[in-house]
Every structure is written in structure tokens, then in C-alpha cells.
Amino acid sequence: MSKFKKQKKGLPPISTASLPDIVFMLLFFFMVSTTMRETELKIIQPTLPDAHNTKKLEHKNLVSTVYVGKSMDATNKGDVIQLNDKIARVSDVRNFIFANREKLLEEEVPFMTTLFKADKNSKVGTIADIKRELREIDALKISYAATPRND
């Protein structure tokens, strides 16, 4: 009879020893998938236009981003261009693209894309000036950044 009397009272506590493992797993996932923003915006954060037909840009290292938008400084009414961390002029686009090309292998150069992150209220004229400059140096692949929209 004594065999049956051994039953313990109450539930054993749930072991939390594996909790750190689970949290670490999540931590590593986020550490790997994080991309830190490397450029600091010198212009007012552009509101991108929205579009249905957007295409994702893979291969981040092949993308050079050109920002177009309003200046933080209210006295400057027109559109300003930002390349890397600096406000730039249209004529600087050329050197910006050349500098980005330097970092790549020869055979990757034709796949380089210039991404326009432009405010929807900026003018087509500014974009056209940049595009003309890009044509001059044979950087022909471009992409107009837009937020995807589904409706």
C-alpha cells in the first residue's frame, strides 16, 4: 500500500532555465537583421509618393541614394539635394556616383542603381537635372522610391 502513498503534493515549479536561450535566439535574430541608418538627413524628411507598382531593391551595396527635398533652413525655398551626409549641388552627383563605383567590382558597375528619395512636393525639374547628369556618366539604372500602396 505504501507504494501508492508517495504522490507529491502540488506541481513542480516550471523550469525557467531555457528562457535566456529563447531570448538570446530572438536577440541574435534582431542583431543580424538590423541595419543601422548610416546617413543622417540634412533635409526635412521627404514624404515619398505612393505607388502600387513598386519593386524591391535587393543588393543594398549596389544602390546609391540621392535625397531631394526641402532644406531645414527656411530661407532656402527651392529643392535641395543631399548626397551622403552633405547638401550638394547637381554638379556633385557625378563625383558621388564615381566614388560609389570605386567601391565595386568592375562587373558590378552596370547593375548599379540610383535611388531617388524625393519629396512628393519637389519639382520634376530638379530630378531632371540629376537624370541628365546621370546620363552623362552612363549611370542608367534608376529607381524612384515610393511607399507601396494596396487598394
Binding site: V23, K55, T65, K123, V124, G125, K131, I142, A146
Partner: protein, 204 residues
């Protein structure tokens, strides 16, 4: 003799440390991948380049947008952005050419075969003219509408040929890198090639 047992290190706070780091990365993460409308600029022509071939007027759909973001199609029709998609579809899919014994006829077109509109999808050029003062948002809206028009047509022809929409084929490409799928996508793209020409914007 009493056995001395080393006290176990308390690992209870490890979870707290890990959580702290986890929350930091959660906040700092930007998951978004840049998306955009892909276009290709035309190559720069050398000064002594031969004259471009003459293109028949009916094969060009002229869309103009002025600095007040108002649209004009074919130089006489004032339209809204919402109508552009249908106009483009009708124009591209027209397929009026009756080739010699069926050669050169667009067999997959479902358009009206209007003789005053485009001959064949691979001849149909959409020309987009903007003003320097046009807002970028309106300009992108037109590009988007044109892109959608091509997608609709490509989806249709892909459905007929492969029983799957063009967009589904593109999605499938993420997991399936086979040459067969690539060829399929290329075939569809060639049936309805995107020919969009941007005219240098006018000065005021």
C-alpha cells in the same frame, strides 16, 4: 566528513540582461527594404549619331503634364490621373497591324484594332512630357499608372499561356531560380515590353 558543495551561480538575471539587449535591437531595427519604380534612362547619344528612325504618329501615346499637374493626352484630351491606366491599356493592346499573311500581327492582343492607334505592343511608345514645375508626386502617379497598365496586360497574357499571373511568376522567382521560369518571365516581358520615353521637361 561533510562534502562541500559549490553553490550554483544564479543565472536568473541572465534573462534580464538578454531582454535589455533584445529591446534595444527591437527599437533600433529598421526592417524596411527600399522599394521603388524602376526605370532605365536612355543612353547618351554621340553628337554624330545617325538620325533616329521616323516613328509613326499613331504608335506614340503622348501624355503631357503641366506645372499645375493637369494632364493632356494626345494634345487635345484633358484627363484625370485615374483614367491614364485604361487609356494606356487601350493604346498598348490595340494591335491594329494586319501583317502580311498574319506575320507581324499581334495575335494575343484583345484591343479594338483601331487603325488610328498603335500597331503592335512592341511598337507602342508612351511619351511622357513634363514641365520643370510639375510636382514629383504627380509625375510618379503617372509612372505608376503606366506600370500598372503593363502589369494588367502581362498578367492576362501570362494567365493564358502558363495559367499563372505574371506577378505570381515574379514572386515564384524568389524560391525558384530555374532557367525555365526565367525564360517564361522574359517571354511575357517581350510580349508587352515597357517602352516609356521621357521628354526633357520644358522651361516654364
Amino acid at each position: 566528513m561533510a562534502r562541500r558543495v559549490l553553490p550554483e551561480i544564479n543565472a536568473g538575471s541572465m534573462a534580464d540582461i538578454a531582454f535589455l539587449l533584445l529591446i534595444f535591437f527591437l527599437v533600433a531595427t529598421t526592417m524596411e527594404v527600399d522599394g521603388g519604380i524602376a526605370r532605365k534612362l536612355p543612353q547618351k547619344q554621340p553628337p554624330n549619331a545617325p538620325k533616329p528612325p521616323i516613328i509613326k504618329d499613331r504608335n506614340v501615346l503622348q501624355i503631357a503634364i503641366n506645372r499645375n499637374d493637369a494632364l493632356l493626352v494626345e494634345g487635345n484630351q484633358r484627363v484625370d490621373v485615374k483614367e491614364i491606366k485604361q487609356i494606356a491599356i487601350d493604346f498598348i493592346d490595340n494591335g491594329a497591324r494586319e501583317g502580311n499573311k498574319g506575320v507581324g500581327t499581334c495575335t494575343y492582343c484583345k484591343g479594338a484594332k483601331d487603325p488610328s492607334s498603335s500597331d503592335h505592343p512592341n511598337k507602342a511608345i508612351i511619351s511622357l512630357k513634363s514641365d520643370r514645375g510639375t510636382s514629383y508626386g504627380a509625375f510618379i502617379a503617372i509612372h505608376d499608372a503606366l506600370g500598372q497598365a503593363y502589369t494588367v496586360l502581362r498578367n492576362r497574357v501570362s494567365m493564358e499561356r502558363y495559367g499563372k499571373s505574371y506577378e505570381a511568376l515574379i514572386k515564384q522567382q524568389k524560391s525558384d531560380k530555374s532557367q525555365k521560369l526565367k525564360d517564361k518571365i522574359k517571354t511575357i516581358k517581350d510580349l508587352y515590353p515597357e517602352i516609356i520615353s521621357e521628354v526633357e521637361p520644358t522651361e516654364n
